[in-house]
């Protein structure tokens, strides 16, 4: 009768971690920075100029991505003023999206799990959490989403990956 309900996971594994998604976490207080660096040799020089300038401020960055004309990265919300100031000094076009959160899906060996990204995107779509940027490692997929939707996104992911118990 309740076959369609997701079953709680993680009850049978005593030696090895269960395959698939094991946890979902949220980190709040982030902003996403997009700087037009240009392309070609000028673009490369600007990448270094931008990253050096941010480092001089002692600001830690993550989710660094290189796009055709842009370089993008995430910073702590508390560092936005410092970052803005340095980018103004460099006279480069930039945009900052504030009030974001990282929704982190943790799995054992993400890279052997076809379809996890689709499931994450489905869950975030259901939760109306627009993905601003993603990063992935062998055991995580990190999605940067508006902070206001982050907890709904995490709940949707927990339901989808059966990390919550569902009463019959």
């Amino acid at each position: 009768m309740y076959e369609h309900l997701p079953q709680p996971r993680g009850r049978r594994f005593f030696i090895e971690q269960e395959r698939g998604v094991t946890d979902v976490r949220v980190e709040v207080g982030l902003a996403h920075v997009r700087v037009r660096a240009g392309s070609g040799e000028r673009g490369l020089q600007n990448h270094l100029k931008i990253l050096d300038a941010i480092a001089e401020q002692g600001v830690s960055i993550s989710l660094v991505k290189i796009h055709h004309d842009w370089i993008t990265f995430a910073v702590n919300q508390a560092d936005v003023a410092k970052v803005s100031q340095r980018l103004e000094e460099l006279a480069l076009e930039y945009k900052i999206a504030p009030d974001l959160a990282l929704v982190i899906t943790i799995a054992s060996n993400m890279r052997e799990s076809a379809g996890i990204m689709a499931q994450i995107a489905e869950a975030l779509w259901e939760a109306s959490a627009t993905i601003i940027e993603t990063g992935d490692s062998h055991n995580t997929v990190q999605c940067l989403v508006p902070e206001g939707r982050a907890f709904a996104a995490a709940q949707a992911l927990r339901r989808r990956f059966r990390l919550v118990e569902v009463a019959p």
């Binding site: 090895e16 269960e18 270094l48 480092a55 490692s137």
Partner: protein
């Protein structure tokens, strides 16, 4: 009883001479007061008569057009380790030591039912303990277990997937609460880079579980990451040692387990060996971008394609697919027509690569023949073939301000085109053309490991 698990890989047991060297290490452990549990892989590599690949090819050769059942394939593959186990136990007997050979099932290794890539659920170690208490050396077949009981039938033999013997060793060590698990191989420990590229790469004396799992996932072949993860879960010290020398090797442990030895700031530089194809979808800055992205993900999930290095921008979506899946992905995407909106407001058609293919042109002609019923948008997909990933494993550094700048500067100064980057708490990675891999490994190793230029 101080139980020591000692695992010997295929090249450590591929000749009588090598088996004798391995057996002497086991005997020395026994003489030193340990109760050794030996885990062995199949004998030799592809071409050797009882190597796993040889057994697979033998079964497939019956009729290459008919794939064997996964259950029967596991039964076949498990034979290699069983033969190796018996040979090692008998070798020990000929050297005057009482030894007993156990299959994975006889050793009590219970797995889930996923043939070819099973996970260890639990281990009932009573048989191993019984033989150890009787003073015997126990030799366990790596890479295998048995499935859970199915309606009272005898369980099936299952195999644990790539690196399965390392996994067996760690799992057995965890179940027996061993004092340590020693993984013997043909290199003398965990290196700071592939010695084929950096001949003087250093051997790390100590490394954390997380770091060794990371370097293994990022391409280093010294230890399977599942073995590190099991050892970490159960806090069992893991050693990577060379069968053919008496060097100390590398201790894999927790930060607390390092006992005064400082864990390295930079673990090393790794690269993956398989080629990958990086795709950039020029979707445009449109309201339906999330829906289009979701549909792309759905389609590739249905085709069982792994995606990684996912990246978004305001107008693109990018990700990598394994080279061996590229042909399938290309067939799926090129000329694909996708309705967007509910009800559909417009159609998008994907064009893969610079030049329109015949498939794309045919689809486009058919769309054009429909007239202007719905507007059509073309999504061009840029394809970067023959890429691979190079990673700097540096758990203490990856988030330090300035390190990403140094990482990119090192590559740019060497004239290496960086196609994309990825970062995590453990590592910084870059996607580069395959032709640049060795150069990228060399310059990153020189700057971060040799010169410690970040310091």
């Amino acid at each position: 009883m101080k139980i020591l698990v000692m695992k010997f890989g295929g090249t450590s047991v591929d000749s009588p001479e090598h088996r004798e060297i391995a057996a002497r290490k086991v005997i020395r452990a026994k003489e030193d007061g340990f109760a050794p549990v030996v885990v062995v892989s199949a004998i030799g590599r592809r071409g050797a008569p009882y190597a796993t690949d040889t057994l697979i090819e033998f079964l497939r050769s019956i009729d290459p057009s008919v794939p064997p059942n996964p259950r029967e394939m596991d039964l076949m593959m498990a034979c290699g380790e069983i033969i190796s186990t018996v040979v090692m136990a008998h070798t020990l007997k000929t050297m005057g030591y009482d030894a007993v050979a156990l299959t994975g099932g006889q050793a009590g290794i219970i797995t889930d039912n996923e043939y070819g890539n099973a996970r260890v659920l639990q281990i009932h170690p009573q048989a191993i303990r019984h033989y150890l208490e009787a003073g015997k050396i126990v030799v366990v077949a790596g890479f295998q277990g048995v499935s859970e009981d199915k309606m009272g039938f005898h369980p099936d033999i299952t195999t644990l997937g790539r690196g399965g013997s390392d996994t067996t060793a760690s799992a057995v060590g965890a179940a027996l609460n061993a004092v340590a698990v020693e993984i013997y191989t043909d290199v003398n420990g965990v290196k700071t880079a592939d010695p084929d590229i950096i001949p003087d790469a250093k051997t790390l004396p100590v490394i954390s579980y997380e770091e060794v799992a990371e370097i293994a996932h990022q391409g280093a072949k010294v230890l399977h990451p599942r073995a590190a993860e099991i050892a970490m879960l159960h806090n069992i010290p893991l050693w990577v040692k060379c069968t053919f020398t008496d060097e100390a090797g590398t201790l894999v442990t927790s930060a607390e387990g390092a006992e005064g030895v400082e864990l390295p700031e930079v673990t090393g530089v790794t690269h993956i060996t398989g080629k990958i194809v990086y795709l950039i979808f020029h979707i445009g800055e449109v309201a339906e971008k999330p829906e289009i992205e979701l549909q792309i993900y759905r389609m590739l999930a249905q085709a069982d394609v792994n995606l990684y290095l996912n990246s978004y921008s305001h107008d693109t979506l990018s990700f990598a697919v394994p080279r061996e899946r590229w042909s399938l992905v290309q067939n799926l995407l090129d000329g694909l027509v996708m309705p967007v909106g509910n009800p559909p407001q417009r159609l998008v058609i994907f064009r893969v690569g610079e030049k329109p293919t015949r498939e794309y042109q045919l689809q486009k002609q058919m769309l054009d023949a429909l007239g202007n019923a719905l507007p059509v948008q073309e999504i061009v997909v840029d394809v970067l073939e023959n890429c691979t990933m190079v990673s700097l494993i540096a758990a203490k550094l990856s988030r330090r301000p300035g390190v990403m700048a140094l990482f990119l500067r090192t590559l740019y100064e060497a004239g290496i085109q960086v196609l994309q980057t990825a970062d995590s708490e453990m590592s910084l990675s870059c996607l580069v053309n395959e032709s640049d891999v060795e150069k990228a490994v060399r310059v990153l190793h020189e700057r971060f490991v040799t010169d410690r230029a970040y310091a």
